[in-house]
């Protein structure tokens, strides 16, 4: 029950950066767009596109897009 939403929400918050509300909004747009377009153009990757996007972002920005440096 809603268990996939938990992970989705986590991914969105982490992509945007903890403690940044604007970041979460940006994160939700990025994750949502990636899932929808990714699922449409590359259906093979639908299962993993969200994680791939998050991984790519975190590798280059280890505290998310708008997260503060620790």
């Amino acid at each position: 029950m809603g268990i996939s939403v938990i992970v989705d929400a986590f991914v969105v918050v982490v992509v945007g950066g903890l403690g940044s509300i604007g970041g979460s909004m940006a994160g939700s747009l990025i994750v949502g767009a990636a899932q929808t377009w990714g699922g449409f153009y590359l259906p093979e990757t639908a299962m993993v596109i969200m994680y791939a996007v998050m991984g790519a972002i975190l590798i280059f920005r280890p505290t998310g897009l708008f997260g503060e440096e620790e």
Binding site: V7, F10, V11, V14, L18, E44, T45, M47, V48, Y51, A52, M54, G55, L58, I59, P62, T63, G64, G67, E70
Partner: protein, 331 residues
């Protein structure tokens, strides 16, 4: 205290030794499974409890071990220890680049990176039908022999001993590891990474090393699991198992060696018993875990330790109260 611990360890070894003679087949297979997941939880505690890196993708290395050992056993029919070694090394080899990239981040970001890579590996296992059999997985993994022409491991008792020996040796190895200078360094990183860095050492090197070691043990657990169950499927790489491994460590006691093993056993037993009584077992397991986390914050081991301390000395309870208050003041 040390004598009592040695006595307990000896009793546990004797118990494991006689199990195949006194337990029924079904109980023996449950206990074997519990020990395999105990090993998985132990490996997670190396990075989570001793180094302070919470991984949310530990199932991936368990799954890599399972697939590695399953493929070796299916295609080459080599002895089981060769398959164990292959699974463990495969998990370690894959953990190296993943750890290199993941340790750039800390805290929740590290956890999410490990989750991302684990889901990536899960998808590969799911989609690479030719190698992994897709969602069907690899079935019919044989329990071959102990060495070339050696005794067969097909009987439940023989496999039980194999798993028990693997678990005990792994626990001893982890014990040596956390007590070594390297292990001390890990605990220093857990307490304060920035202070550790000011001592002139790069914490990332230590974190990467322990991440790979931890993945090797998780891979060993997975490599034991595939022949035990007779199959490897993508389910063993799914993030739900990673979450369960976290629960096992928390229930048993973070930062201890016996805790995760006990935690895994209690976790699996509660599920096993409750699901045989009621359809709504998840409701009850959820409630039990919430209560355990609230009332046993140090896990099972923490509770037993606290109880031993208070009963050992009359002043113990006051001492505990003070240590509790000091902790509260530190925030």
């Amino acid at each position: 205290m040390a004598g009592a611990r040695r006595g307990l360890a000896l009793a546990a070894l004797v118990f494991l030794g006689v199990c195949p003679f006194v337990l029924a087949r079904y109980q023996l297979s449950i206990l074997t499974e519990l020990m395999i997941f105990g090993l998985l939880a132990l490996s997670l505690d190396l990075i989570m409890g001793y180094t302070g890196m919470v991984s949310f993708g530990h199932a991936a290395y368990f799954g890599l071990g399972a697939y590695g050992s399953a493929l070796i056993l299916i295609h080459f029919e080599l002895p089981v220890p060769v398959a164990l070694l292959t699974g463990a090394l495969l998990a370690g080899a894959v953990a190296l680049p993943i750890g290199y990239l993941s340790t750039r981040a800390t805290g929740i970001y590290f956890a999410m990176l490990t989750l991302a890579f684990a889901q990536l590996l899960y998808t590969i296992a799911y989609k690479w039908r030719d190698l992994t059999g897709g969602s069907d997985g690899i079935a019919g993994v044989p329990k071959t022999s102990l060495w070339w022409g050696g005794p067969s491991l097909a009987s439940p008792a023989a496999y039980f001993y194999l798993v028990a020996v693997s678990l005990v040796l792994s626990m001893l190895a982890c014990r040596g590891l956390v007590r070594s200078p390297f292990g001390r360094a890990l605990q220093a990183i857990r307490e304060n990474e920035r202070k550790f860095a000011t001592l002139g050492q790069d914490p990332r090197r230590f974190k990467l090393t322990v991440f790979v070691i931890s993945a090797v043990f998780a891979g060993l657990a997975g490599a034991l699991f595939a022949p035990f169950r007779g199959f490897a499927s993508p389910e063993v790489m799914f993030w739900v198992l990673s979450g369960q491994a976290l629960m096992m460590v928390i229930i048993g006691g973070i930062g201890t060696l016996i805790g995760p093993v006990l935690g895994a056993m209690v976790f699996m037993l509660i599920q096993e018993v409750l699901s045989s009584y009621t359809e709504q077992w998840m409701l009850f397991t959820g409630a039990i875990f919430v209560l355990m986390v609230i009332f046993l914050p140090g896990g099972l081991v923490g509770a037993v330790r606290g109880w031993l301390e208070t009963s050992a000395s009359p002043a113990g309870s006051t001492a505990r109260l003070w240590s509790f208050r000091r902790k509260a003041e530190r925030g």
